[in-house]
């Protein structure tokens, strides 16, 4: 059987980021996949050791520009754990609010990219248009569109109250209106289903064995979500993870679609139940000892570990990002698929290479 071996990336129109998949096809069927990374590696963990620990918030949130808030949140929770800081309840609720908005904007972005890779241009445009509303909320409440820098050690930097809260509610309503028009299309459209159903199957058992995380895992039938740990205000808000049993790309799409609804609900809840009080506490001293923290990022479990030695500089910072855990899933899903499905399947784990390579 004649073979076709070629590079898919690092620069490739369907990949917004630089990763290479070295593909070997027979006919249009993929028979071998070798993921090649290193095109985006910067060395953030090492650089973090050289920076004062307070500044690392800004470095960490630039691990990934899409879920930057989550990265900042994780790092802050890590240091707060290390230094036993009690974050005020209002800050916790605000953190949930921004986390969930980040999740919405990330999922909307993803649905758009999926539609784009499928050649469904108009859906891409509609998703991104709706996403702009969320970005407006983020910009209004934090001052920036994509890299908000609103989370600091000890709390958050900005408050949401009064007129601002009203505007935010209006914008969220506006988003909900747009989203309610988009979401049935994503779920029901014949062409989207034809392209995603049964593609990139990740069997339930295998998903667990490979240590897959996030929506990819939940689409294979596991109710695993770090938010169940109850960090920030999640313990008080209460929620059930979204689970799908389909194990295919369509199920992963559905998980994300339903998570947008869920996140919106959580955001409303968080904002409605904002406790009164301070939004940050002052940080004194330097981190010492070890701590680890898990946060559910849009792509799955984000794990950070730090060791402090009582100086302004951390001795070690370790970031394990969800995409790193999910790349093995590609090696299960891609072989045997058609070349036309490679973008769909690759996107279905929502790869964030900037995260993975740090």
């Amino acid at each position: 059987m004649p073979r076709i071996t070629f590079p898919f990336g690092p620069q490739h129109p369907v990949l917004p980021e630089a990763i290479q998949l070295q593909l070997t096809c027979e006919d249009e069927k993929v028979v071998e996949v070798t993921p090649v990374i290193g095109y985006m590696h910067r060395g953030i963990e090492k650089a973090a050791e050289g920076n004062p620990f307070v500044n690392n918030v800004f470095l960490c949130e630039r691990v990934c520009g899409i879920c930057s808030f989550m990265h900042a949140l994780t790092y802050c929770q890590l240091i707060e754990g290390l230094m036993n800081i009690n974050v005020p309840p209002r800050a916790k609720y605000l953190r949930v609010f921004w986390s969930e908005l980040s999740r919405i904007h990330s999922h909307m972005l993803w649905i758009g990219l999926l539609a784009d890779a499928l050649g469904f241009e108009s859906l891409f445009m509609q998703c991104w248009r709706a996403r702009e509303v969320i970005l407006d909320v983020l910009e209004m409440t934090t001052g920036q569109r994509v890299i908000q820098s609103s989370c600091v050690i000890g709390g958050v930097r900005r408050n949401i109250d009064g007129e601002l809260a009203k505007t935010v509610f209006n914008l969220l309503d506006e988003f909900k209106k747009q989203w309610d028009a988009i979401s049935p299309v994503v779920q029901k459209d014949y062409t989207i289903r034809a392209r995603t159903e049964g593609k990139g199957i990740l069997p339930k058992e295998q998903a667990w064995e490979l240590g897959i995380v996030g929506p990819t895992l939940r689409a294979s039938g596991w109710a695993h979500d770090c938010r169940l740990l109850g960090y920030a205000a999640y313990g008080e808000l209460g929620f059930q993870p979204v689970v799908e049993e389909g194990c295919d790309s369509y199920a992963r799409t559905l998980v994300r679609v339903r998570e947008v609804d869920q996140s919106l609900e959580l955001a409303y809840k968080a904002l409605n139940n904002l406790p009164e009080g301070e939004i940050a506490v002052k940080v004194k001293g330097f981190p010492e000892g070890e701590a680890a923290v898990c946060v559910e990022q849009p792509r799955g479990e984000l794990f950070e570990y730090a060791r402090g030695n009582g100086t302004p500089h951390l001795e070690r910072l370790k970031i394990r990002t969800p995409t790193f855990a999910n790349i093995p899933a590609l090696l299960v899903m891609l072989p045997g698929s058609e070349l036309a499905d490679v973008p769909v399947i690759t996107l279905s784990i929502d790869p964030c290479i900037a995260c993975t390579e740090r």
Binding site: P13, V14, M40, S68, M125, I147
Partner: protein, 145 residues
């Protein structure tokens, strides 16, 4: 204004390469295509193939592995062509300036025509940068003729 000049200014096709940034700028470039900003109004298309493109937009700092990719993409573009460094990292290395694997801004590898600062730059800024690049593109084009 000659027909060629006018056409050149009205039809900038873009190829985008994400060097080693954080994605923030990449999604802002993509956002430029979408209804709120709609750069196709200016004839700007994201082609995804260096052989079709006039403008190379680069985000993120170069590192030891991707500088060859960047160079190769630049070489594959037919003349006249311009390069846009989008975001602080692409301009200077930005927040990653002290990372061990980062060489710095992309001007370490290829000539940059327009620097667009910001972390991440807003879509409006990016569009502004592209318009500035067009002037340079036309200068290069006329010089070649």
């Amino acid at each position: 204004m000659g027909l060629i000049t006018k056409s050149r200014i009205k039809s900038p096709w873009i190829v985008h390469y994400s060097c080693g940034g954080c994605n923030g700028c990449d999604i802002e470039i993509l956002a430029c295509l979408t209804p709120l900003y709609d750069v196709e109004r200016f004839g700007i298309l994201n082609m995804g193939n260096p052989k079709h493109a006039d403008i190379l937009t680069v985000t993120g700092p170069v590192n030891h592995r991707n500088y060859r990719v960047l160079k190769n993409l630049y070489e594959q573009m037919p003349d006249p062509k311009v390069v846009l460094a989008i975001g602080a990292c692409a301009c200077t290395g930005g927040v990653f300036h002290n990372c061990y694997n980062v060489l710095g801004g992309i001007d370490k590898v290829i000539p940059v025509d327009v620097y667009i600062p910001g972390c991440a730059p807003r879509p409006e800024t990016i569009i502004d940068g592209v318009i500035m690049a067009l002037k340079k593109l036309n200068e290069k084009g006329s010089k070649a003729e």
